[in-house]
Amino acid sequence: MTQESKYMSNRRSVGKVRPHPTQNEALMFEKSAPGKRACKMPPLDVPAVDPASLLGADVRREAGLLPELSEIEIIRHFTRLSTWNYAIDLGMYPLGSCTMKYNPRVNEVVARIPGLAEAHPYRIRSHAQGILEIIDLLQRCLLEITGMDAITLQPAAGAHGEMTGILLVRAWHESQGRPRKKVIIPDSAHGTNPATAAICGYAVENLRSNAVGGIDLEALARQVDEDTAALMLTNPSTLGVFENEIHRIADILHARGALLYMDGANMNALVGKVRPGDFGVDVMHLNLHKTFSTPHGGGGPGSGPVACKAFLEPFLPIPVLVSEADGTRRWDYKRAQSIGRVRAYYGNVGMFIRALAYILANGPDGLRQTTEDAVLNANYIRKKLEDVYELPYRTPSMHEVVFSDRKQAAKGVKTGDIAKRLIDYGFHPYTVSFPLIVPGALMIEPTESESVQELDLFIDAMRSIAREVDEDPELVKTAPHSTRVSRLDEVQAARKPVLRWRPASQ
């Protein structure tokens, strides 16, 4: 290869990407130098104090090893780091079960309005009416969307919502005489479900999926007994399949006094089209960071409201928002049957504001169209890839589609390799190896936020990778080839954990 062609090949376009340099950036501690500063305090307008005499033995002698940097260095530090991230703003992020949709910017603007962002949680009631009105409107919208009767916004994330929901179940059973002993969870469930049930003091009983990846009604009927507190069901399932016998599932449970809990992770397939409250769900959680567009932020903050039927309402966490006759609102703390608090204050209010802004931007027609587009996108991908990737379950897909790597695994290429190669084509990988009931799963959720053009680029990339698996499997197995870092040594990270920086001398 001549020098020139090698040079050209490094600038080659692959699908929608072309390589470009990123900046190196050390850890902030390594750039620190004594005496540099990025802050200036105003002059102290009260008498100065001597910390040592005020605090005595409790004074800090050695300051921690915080960095010393100037403002421009800090801006560059974090800006450079940011360029090493993939993001929805850069392109399609088809992580199944995660609903990586567009995060509207007006949400960020309204969440930062000073009267909202600077509100102290213990400000007196008359000064909090505006924010209580926002919370109330969001609650009413979410109840209408889910078809449920009562709601708490307190849980900080989906898994936290699950815990809250199962505690409601437990409290209700206790009010009926005994808490019961077990929670049934399908083998296709998110890992948080069994962890949640265990934390709430329940034994976990696995329920095997049937041949089409759904709930096996006969197995369920056999398994549900007087000790069953609830079934935790994700609907649509993690295969993206709607449980079309959902009402019979609810009937089986209710006949034995057990409840139906719905993991609302996949609500993006249902909003405006069907309501869990109408098909027999007793309690469920929502993920505002999935369905309602609040940003994932690199892994939080989330928000996991829990909606329930009226009979569970007395058990909701304190405080509960109530309206007075004069139109004002207040927090009610006097609720004898409440499960207690699951979080200090009232929940991730900043996320409530963003979620409500999203609902207002959509309205009823927009919410329905959003769901339809999400389902349309998933089915389009399914149609365009089902000849090259194996579809283990042919049941109709809703908002996501799950393939398996069976064809590619025959060549020694696994779902994880295909995912890494996708990075070279300018896409974030899909969800790898989940749900567990599909060996070598590729779980793809495009969301409504992708145009036909972006979908086609994704489909081209996936088809091209399938060809590479046939022609040059090593190319795929060693991917990614275009990133700042190549595959990282996770074994070393786990064997000899280095969880913080330390100065070289230590």
């Binding site: 996770e490 074994v491 786990a494 064997r495």
Partner: protein, 129 residues
């Protein structure tokens, strides 16, 4: 790697070699291969009681955890401290990298374990399935 003929095996892929009243316990080569690179071994303390078929710890790879099942009942007399810093010893030679030693309380339990040939057949069956 051949399965030593003087060891006994469990269906959960542990081995035990017995000298006098002391049993030395580890995991089989098949088990280390299925787990991949082992990053951590969680072990009981010397003096802890263990029971046959009960769990006595776990082995972890990057993405999986596997419980360790005890082939016999008894009292832990030693743990292999080397695994704390070098869990990869199990990957290198599973049949010599022991995890714990146990003072047997009921040597008759050994009779219920698989011998090398039976274990090998069991593994063949598992891999075929």
């Amino acid at each position: 790697m051949p399965y030593p003929a003087n060891y006994r095996y469990t269906r959960e892929h542990e081995w035990i070699s017995v000298e006098g009243s002391i049993g030395t316990i580890g995991i089989t080569d098949y088990a280390q291969k299925s787990l991949g690179d082992i990053v951590y071994v969680d072990v009981p303390k010397v003096g802890d009681k263990v029971t046959a078929h009960g769990t006595f710890g776990s082995v972890e790879s990057v993405k999986a955890v596997s419980d360790l099942y005890c082939p016999v009942s008894g009292t832990v007399t030693a743990v292999n401290d080397e695994l704390k810093t070098s869990p990869d010893r199990i990957n290198e030679d599973a049949h010599s990298a022991w995890i714990i030693k146990v003072e047997l309380s009921d040597p008759a339990e050994l009779d219920k374990l698989l011998d090398a040939a039976a274990y090998e057949a069991f593994v063949m069956e598992e891999t075929a399935a």
